[in-house]
Symmetry: C2
Subunit: 352 residues, 2 copies
Amino acid sequence: MRPTIAMGVPWMDNKITMAHGSGGLLAHELVEQVFIKHLGNPTLSALEDASNIELADARGQLLGQPVMTTDSYVVSPIFFPGGDIGRLSICGTVNDLSMRGARPLYLTAGFVLQEGLPLEELERVVASMAATAQEAGVRIVAGDTKVVERGSADKLFINTAGIGLVPPGVQVSASRARPGDVVLLSGTVGDHGLAIMTQREGLRFTSPIRSDCAPLNGLVADMLATCPDIHVLRDPTRGGLATTLNELADQSAVGIAVDERSVPIHESVRAASELLGLDPLYVANEGKLIAIVATDDAERVLAAMRQHPLGREAARIGRIVEEHPRRVVLNTILGTHRLLDMLTGEQLPRIC
Amino acid sequence: MRPTIAMGVPWMDNKITMAHGSGGLLAHELVEQVFIKHLGNPTLSALEDASNIELADARGQLLGQPVMTTDSYVVSPIFFPGGDIGRLSICGTVNDLSMRGARPLYLTAGFVLQEGLPLEELERVVASMAATAQEAGVRIVAGDTKVVERGSADKLFINTAGIGLVPPGVQVSASRARPGDVVLLSGTVGDHGLAIMTQREGLRFTSPIRSDCAPLNGLVADMLATCPDIHVLRDPTRGGLATTLNELADQSAVGIAVDERSVPIHESVRAASELLGLDPLYVANEGKLIAIVATDDAERVLAAMRQHPLGREAARIGRIVEEHPRRVVLNTILGTHRLLDMLTGEQLPRIC
């Protein structure tokens, strides 16, 4: 897929760098050169190669096809406007399952706690997980706790893994974007990453930036009810909208044309981005999704999204094209065209 | 169950201490006071309260009842005689599923890497995971990587979560020990913990101590093939044999009488324990299991264990009694009786 030789970034050292965790190019190289090499494809996958095992209950009622996912959460600070590491750890995994079109069912939670962590903080995080799990309608069925010495971890890290069932007939995949399809976005971008960064930098704005951190399974269920044949769903987390669109262009072997004017961005996010020298198109989101659908389905799906509280600002932001395969091109506000590349190097460490 | 007021250990501070990760009394209190309080029962549980959903394939063929588990691995050093953090992360989760009588199927793997970790070390760990997964016959179906700054983690932490299916008819549970039952142990205790400790302390013995780290699903399958009605299975990890027996006594509300003479311990482990002032009965194992079975089944199950490479030194170590409910009593080599309590406070930090 992408070149596996590093591009001026410190692979030379043969050491892990912060950029390996960015969700961008180096992160992709790490996955390919170490994880895929040894473990096969470690990305979210159906529970069988054949990918066609359908589970039924004991009475033979078809339940769907199981999918599993996992994510570790190392966000710093652990409390931020609009959320905390606990809420994030539920939303992230619920959303990963939802992006397969699956109905998330059960989650596990593993904690690495640093010696000295105030119990009150741990309890706030765990209570937030419980509330978010209830909001998303999922159950946490197994847990584990490890403690490491002061200086061996930063407050706490959480891992959640989850299992869900893809309903019969649903076939959402990052490889199903086709020329002519329409690209929809469920709302504003940049909110999560900027909420974290402004918190870290101690910046204050008249309208504070809040993380968009939310479980998207309800929104996805409404969209699939309107149109079971959604081609692609993906949440633009690490690396932001731009990196995620590049992944989709690559996996579907198509070009994507995005209209900059149509991408919703909160005014405060735009202002903070300029101040911090960040591009909101590359900043992580935790409660947004990209949907790619056939032209004929676009209006119907968009309407369903706008009816849901988490999709009120949904917009049509671009289309799939035959030109420039595996490339994302932005039609800018200025009327020019600009290649929107994958994030290279590190932008925002420990954003999730 | 157990008193939830701390016993002279620093709950006072309301901060997490290393002892909260020991697997002993404080760890139990943390689970009860924070995790169970908010999340309900976070221990390995069947995927439904009703606990009676049986899954079938699309043709109606009964597959069994699904169970899920998770574990985080923070062992230090990450390479040790007999294993490494990668092998441990597969064995631990495979074994947790096996102790429910489940056939482990699919695992997820989440990595938290420290900036500066040599890629060569990461690759060795991942290759070891792949080899161990193959040995155990499980597949890793999803993965995630996060990177944190130098000083925010110690080399790398791994979380694995797993799903398995309990075959129809198998009903293994920590609450099924009954007076008259026999307690079996699959081999020597103390090997894993002492391998780590001697490595940390730089001790050398003529016969080096190796971790027993191994996937137990094959052994369990053989045991269940001989006797589907095994009452209890449990792997004595953190807190060791003594703590695990206490958990079982508690959950089944029975007494357990253990014959010290019959508990197999390698000579080198015994010597190192004395040197380090440790009791091998409280030291973690990563490739051993306790089985509790009806008297009539004991010989048959023991024979099946001894036929398996991981059960060659299996022994009958005690029995379930009506006397002293929820207490474990050791009949010592000296002919005296001694209460074998749960581990209190911290013994060996970061042993798994």
